[in-house]
């Protein structure tokens, strides 16, 4: 049989992405990236910006970003922490969907093949 090129699954690619942004080399401390991802306990005005990123990113304004920069957070740190906050919220959704799917599969039944 001809060997098929292996297609990486979502789970591996997902873990690679999350691991890279949380634990890889960056300009912001890993603890801050983790806090942004978990949406917990960052100082103002950074927390205000990340609240908007998580709940209604379309409301982010130039001023929100400017105030964070004025508070001494570098652009590279803003770049990283916004990515972590966005990925954190998307990840909580994704994990919720996957857990519900897994539970439905375990129940079995005619549709859960």
């Amino acid at each position: 049989m001809k060997p098929q090129k292996e297609i990486p699954g979502y789970r591996q690619l997902y873990r690679d992405l999350i691991d890279r942004i949380l634990n890889g080399k960056g300009h912001s401390p890993q603890a801050e990236r983790r806090a942004a991802f978990d949406h917990s306990g960052l100082p103002q005005p950074l927390q205000h910006l990340l609240d908007k990123v998580v709940h209604y990113a379309y409301k982010v304004t130039d001023d929100d970003v400017e105030r964070v920069k004025q508070s001494g957070v570098s652009e590279d740190q803003v770049f990283e922490l916004v990515i972590c906050a966005a990925a954190g919220q998307a990840s909580r959704q994704y994990e919720s969907g996957l857990a519900a799917l897994e539970a439905a599969r375990k129940e079995g039944g005619p549709h859960a093949s």
């Binding site: 297609i7 990486p8 979502y10 690619l13 997902y14 690679d16 992405l17 890279r20 942004i21 890889g24 080399k25 960056g26 910006l49 908007k52 990123v53 998580v54 209604y56 990113a57 379309y58 409301k59 982010v60 130039d62 970003v65 652009e75 590279d76 803003v78 770049f79 990283e80 916004v82 990515i83 906050a85 966005a86 990925a87 919220q89 998307a90 990840s91 909580r92 959704q93 994704y94 919720s96 969907g97 996957l98 519900a100 799917l101 539970a103 439905a104 599969r105 129940e107 039944g109 549709h111 859960a112 093949s113």
Partner: protein, 193 residues
Amino acid sequence: MRLEILNKGYALTTKMLFGIIRLVSGYPLPDAARLVFYRPDFYGLPMKRFTHRAMRGPSSWSVGDRELMAAYISRLNACTFCVKAHSAVSANAYKDRFKVDKVLADPETAPIAPPLRAMLALLGKLTTTHTVGTEDIRTLLAAGVTPPQVEDALAVCFAFNITNRLADAFGFFVPAPDAFDAGARYLLRRGYG
């Protein structure tokens, strides 16, 4: 974009590439594509790999279906850039703009098959309430969606709930419709990889 590093902070070879793309295509590279070139080892590369797998990898959802899901999720997140970009790709893939517009207006009455309608409803719930339960998945399976299809659609949902947030937080420039059409043709030819 709101960060100067995302406007001007690219490596010289990347800036040259942006110049060539602008010359050849007649359009500046859209901000969504520029973003993944900034420090690509931090975010761009792993994100492109995930997104390409979700949008173009093996799935029994068609490319048009997956792009429609992306457009619908983007609409619920009120992300203008991504709605325009992915409704254009979906309309091109289906060769049916009417269907895409109907879904974005109201998936309940749009001319689509029941499994896709049920899938969009679940993605909508997950995007707006951030959580779904076993009962939601049971409803979906009863509508004829298979477990692998659920997993494929959840991956689309993950990718676009990140991308929508970044588009609006970083302030992607929203160009004219012809630029989105050119971008859609590119994304259908080449994907996200």
